[in-house]
């Protein structure tokens, strides 16, 4: 889905910021509704902004107070265990994202080098373009494939000699 990239920084343009706020605020409320309905759980959201002196409270001030009471009646360690603020949450997101980048990068490297290997096999690619790192990787990849081939050949031998 083609999405415009969003930079995670305060929107300085006033009208753009207001528009974004309205959209995202209603989107957030919608998501809160969905999670409580789908999972049968309790939740509340309190939103303060410069666009209204009163906070936007979901589901309603009374219901929110009930949820907060339930929350505050828990022992402080229980309250704090899964509590996040911008710093901790953003750091968490950053960790998860860089992990994904590394994982995907490794996967892509493997698939790309596999492609290189098969192209070299068929003579469609020469070695001149490969760096020393690529060459080492390729060598390892070929060795790995040879091991698989040998195992498979063993299987054939066992079958035929039986």
């Amino acid at each position: 889905m083609p999405r415009s990239k969003v930079k995670l920084a305060y929107i300085s343009n006033d009208s753009a910021r207001r528009t974004t706020f309205r959209k995202r605020e209603s989107g957030l409320i919608k998501k809160a509704e969905e999670i409580t309905t789908l999972c049968g759980v309790e939740a509340c959201a309190i939103l303060y902004s410069s666009y209204s002196p009163e906070p936007n409270v979901w589901p309603s001030p009374l219901d929110a107070q009930r949820v907060i009471s339930r929350f505050r009646n828990m022992a402080p360690p229980e309250q704090n265990k899964k509590m996040a603020d911008q710093q901790s949450f953003t750091r968490q997101r950053l960790e998860k994202t860089t992990e994904k980048v590394t994982k995907l990068g490794t996967e892509n490297q493997h698939n790309e080098m596999t492609q290189v290997m098969y192209q070299c096999l068929s003579g469609r690619l020469g070695f001149e373009c490969l760096s020393i790192g690529d060459l080492y990787y390729l060598s390892g990849l070929v060795s790995q494939n040879l091991r698989v081939i040998d195992r498979r050949l063993e299987f054939f031998q066992r079958h035929h000699s039986g």
Binding site: T37, L38, I68, E78, T97, L121, C129
Partner: protein
């Protein structure tokens, strides 16, 4: 369902029937909810608190500047008058809107806050950068996977080893061993060249970045093959002996 997952599909807004799905859904959606809240705070300067209880009765909360600050601020609002109360108690039509707390005159607290805000800004920038990198890798992956699919369709030697017959297997083994030897020779050549301080190929797949090999069209490197395009080898395979050709001998898709 033909789909792998229910994402981008309409799902019915009623309590999920399968307990296992419910727990997974909660976990993902809670995370998504907090992400949306966090972004709303960063993008628009909102101050938010969210409290949500899990199916396992655990309390998850997110708040900016903190859950406590927002909750306290909310609770200290004048409560609305009781419905149908006597005229005497209905002195106000609405609860008095409480203005946001004034900036703390204590300079130490101010400094701490400024510090925290700067840290959040820095983390947000790093996160944006990381998300861009992820997008780039995903795009790279799409290109690579497309090439792999095409290659597997065209060439019998590309694909699961288990799918090959004995003759093919032996042929492939010979070609691979040959390839390994030649890669080793080239590596030696490059090593020698490097030691003598001469120019070395700069295109690299190893660094894991966007590479010209995928046919993105940019970047250095004398790759002579357009990854997605078709190199017309008439009988398919290395029978036209390029310097590093390996005669596998069979036409593409013959088997």
């Amino acid at each position: 369902m033909a789909r792998k997952n229910k994402g981008r599909q309409r799902i019915e807004m009623t309590r999920m029937s399968k307990e296992s799905n419910l727990l997974v859904t909660f976990s993902k959606r809670r995370s998504g909810l907090f992400k949306k809240a966090s972004e709303l705070c960063t993008l628009c300067g909102a101050e938010i608190a969210i409290v949500v209880f899990s199916p396992g009765k655990k309390a998850f909360s997110f708040g900016h500047p903190s859950v406590g600050a927002i909750v306290d601020r909310f609770l200290s609002r004048t409560p609305p008058p009781p419905r149908g109360g006597s005229r005497a108690s209905n002195r106000r039509d609405q609860p008095l809107p409480l203005p946001p707390p004034p900036p703390n005159p204590n300079s130490a607290v101010q400094l701490l806050e400024a510090h925290r805000n700067a840290a959040v800004r820095e983390l947000s920038n790093q996160l944006t950068e990381a998300m861009n990198q992820l997008e780039a890798e995903k795009k790279r992956g799409e290109g690579i996977n497309k090439m792999r699919r095409e290659s597997k369709e065209r060439c019998w030697w590309d694909g699961p080893i288990d799918g090959l017959g004995l003759g093919q297997l032996e042929q492939l083994k010979v070609a691979m061993e040959d390839l390994k030897r030649n890669v080793g020779k080239q590596a030696e050549r490059v090593r020698v060249v490097e030691e003598e301080g001469l120019k070395v190929p700069t295109a690299s797949f190893y660094a894991g970045g966007t590479s010209s090999f995928v046919g993105s069209g940019s970047g250095a490197g004398g790759v002579g093959v357009d990854g997605g395009g078709d190199v017309k080898v008439s009988d398919g395979l290395g029978l036209s002996m390029t310097p590093h050709g390996y005669a596998l001998g069979y036409g593409c898709g013959f088997f």
